[in-house]
């Protein structure tokens, strides 16, 4: 898959001296959903702002659709739709007027049919004549998406798109995003909701303190970094672990009723077979067992902590 966005050696230092981005290199593939994760202040919004033309880079180069965002900004920007994190809206404008304004701003001829389709897709059609100030937070968020889609972009940036949105609406938005991807739009998503990235993304990038810590296919990432937990529900309670099991990193939980063993799925040996053998030798029996896969959230927390 070819790159639709190519970021090379990008750095941003603010006037205060704060380095928001440090030599960032990133390629976004055409047609994918890319989730950019990172804690507050990691540099996610700064990175998006530079790619979209809202902030100037200090160093480095960004190509969008093969066009340099500074020397060929018209072509580059016309490919992009941006949904910012904050709900920046023209409070006293109608939904129809503000979405139509966005289309004109991006140099596209009037196309009421397209605006109608976008508003209908986002369940905003019956609100088209309402002033934005009268809409709920979730609807305002959808108006922001409608504005970004008004000029038929090839790339859509969604900066925290479901922040403050209820669960039902969030799932509705995921549907919209999936439909957009099917129509060929590349989507870059920043989010605090790890399950959102887990649910939506094809690839995941993690940024921390202005540096890209990791970029990986979601499935590979889960496989590479995912840990599993084996929980054994014992027949009888244990006061302490026998010495023969000392070399395993075991943990006694629930007042000695359960035994927990964390293992790494990427390792050649998980140690489960020998552990079960040693448990039998030590005379420890169990009624039941279960395994759980660590979530992307666990992986993310680990990465941020160690980077």
């Amino acid at each position: 898959m070819s790159s639709i966005i190519s970021v090379a050696n990008l750095s941003k230092t603010y006037g205060s001296g704060f380095k928001a981005l440090k030599n960032v290199n990133l390629d976004i593939k055409r047609g994918e959903i890319f989730a950019l994760l990172g804690p507050n202040g990691a540099g996610k919004t700064t990175l998006i702002s530079i790619i979209c033309g809202i902030a100037n880079p200090s160093e480095g180069r960004v190509l969008v659709g093969g066009e340099n965002i500074q020397t060929s900004y018209r072509k580059a920007r016309s490919l992009i739709g941006l949904v910012p994190q904050e709900l920046h809206t023209d409070a006293f404008e109608s939904v129809w007027a503000t979405v139509s304004f966005s289309r004109g701003l991006f140099g596209k001829p009037k196309n009421p049919d397209h605006i109608e389709k976008v508003l209908k897709d986002l369940s905003l059609w019956d609100k088209k004549d309402n002033k934005i100030i009268t809409l709920s937070g979730g609807m305002k968020r959808r108006v922001m998406i409608a504005k970004a889609l008004s000029h038929e972009p090839q790339i859509l940036f969604l900066d925290e798109p479901t922040a403050g949105v209820d669960v039902e609406l969030r799932k509705g938005m995921w549907e919209v995003v999936r439909t957009l991807q099917q129509s060929g739009v590349t989507i870059i998503l920043t989010t605090h909701y790890i399950e959102e990235a887990e649910e939506m993304a094809d690839r995941i990038g993690v940024i921390n303190k202005g540096e890209i810590v990791l970029i990986e296919d979601k499935a590979t990432l889960m496989q590479k970094l995912g840990k599993k937990r084996l929980t054994l529900h014992l027949q009888g309670r244990l006061d302490a672990l026998p010495e023969s099991l000392g070399h395993y990193e075991l943990e006694l939980c629930d007042a000695g009723a359960t035994l927990v063993y964390d293992y790494d799925t990427k390792g050649e040996r998980t140690g489960i077979t020998s552990l079960l053998g040693d448990l039998r030798t030590a005379g420890i029996r169990f009624n039941d067992l279960d395994t759980t896969q660590s979530s992307l959230e666990d992986i993310f927390v680990d990465l941020v902590r160690t980077s």
């Binding site: 910012p84 304004f101 004109g104 701003l105």
Partner: protein, 253 residues
């Protein structure tokens, strides 16, 4: 040239004018009418003619300039400050539109509003005093030039301001006093020689003088000097705006 984007910004700004018709058009007209009542009727009745023109008629160009200057600045500064304040500026900055086109949209709309207002005030003045415009083309040219120049100045203030206080500061503390002291209500020749010299440092003197010449062929300074000074201010504003966009000052931090 992204003419659709210019049109979108221009129409968006003009739509705001119609939405806020009362403060955009009606308030300045009411204020100007009050000036006519106070200065034209009350004070004017005690002042004989000024340079062969009745006092009420004499102050018309100054009153129009007073409104055009202040409204150009107010319209343009608010026009660009408001998206900064609400955050919607992100869309302007991320659109495939050049700095020149952004300025054309905002300043074009602000200047249009001021010109409409100037013409409405002119028509209002016609209800109070007899008017005869000697050079209507020059009058219109001066009106447009002043509206555009001071809309550019307002645009700069709107970018510079980081709060509503600052947005009001320069128009209130600098522009309004300069306009009042710039010969709106009197001829510079009526001042003592020392103050006449001081007054010549006020750029608004040249605007009002030139505008008044287009009405009555009477001026404190020659027409060419008036036009030259206005153009010089226009160029200064353009250079400052060019620098703002080149550096991203208060826009792209």
């Amino acid at each position: 040239m992204n003419h659709r984007a210019i049109r979108a910004i221009y129409l968006f700004e003009m739509a705001r004018t119609w939405r806020t018709l009362l403060q955009s058009i009606v308030s300045p007209v009411v204020s100007t009418s009050l000036y006519f009542v106070v200065f034209g009727a009350a004070i004017g009745s005690r002042i004989s003619q000024v340079e062969g023109v009745s006092y009420g008629t004499f102050i018309v160009p100054g009153l129009i300039m007073l409104s055009v200057l202040t409204q150009s600045i107010a319209n343009a500064s608010f026009g660009i400050y408001f998206p900064k304040f609400t955050g919607t500026i992100y869309e302007i900055l991320s659109a495939p539109i050049s700095y020149f086109e952004i300025v054309l949209g905002y300043v074009g709309a602000a200047a249009t509003k001021s010109i409409i207002l100037g013409l409405i005030i002119l028509a209002t003045a016609g209800l109070f005093v007899p008017l005869h415009i000697h050079h209507p083309v020059w009058m219109l040219a001066f009106l447009v030039l002043t509206a555009v120049t001071f809309s550019l100045f307002g645009f700069i203030i709107g970018i510079w301001a980081d709060g509503f206080e600052k947005l009001q500061m320069i128009p209130m503390l600098v522009v309004t006093p300069l306009t009042f002291l710039g010969g709106s209500f009197y001829s510079i020749d009526m001042l003592p020689p020392t103050w006449r010299t001081v007054a010549m440092l006020n750029p608004v003197v040249y605007l009002i003088s030139g505008f008044r010449w287009s009405f009555y062929e009477i001026a404190d300074v020659s027409m060419s000097v008036s036009v030259g000074m206005t153009l010089a201010f226009l160029v200064i504003c353009l250079v400052v705006i060019w620098w703002i966009f080149r550096t991203g000052y208060r826009l792209k931090n």
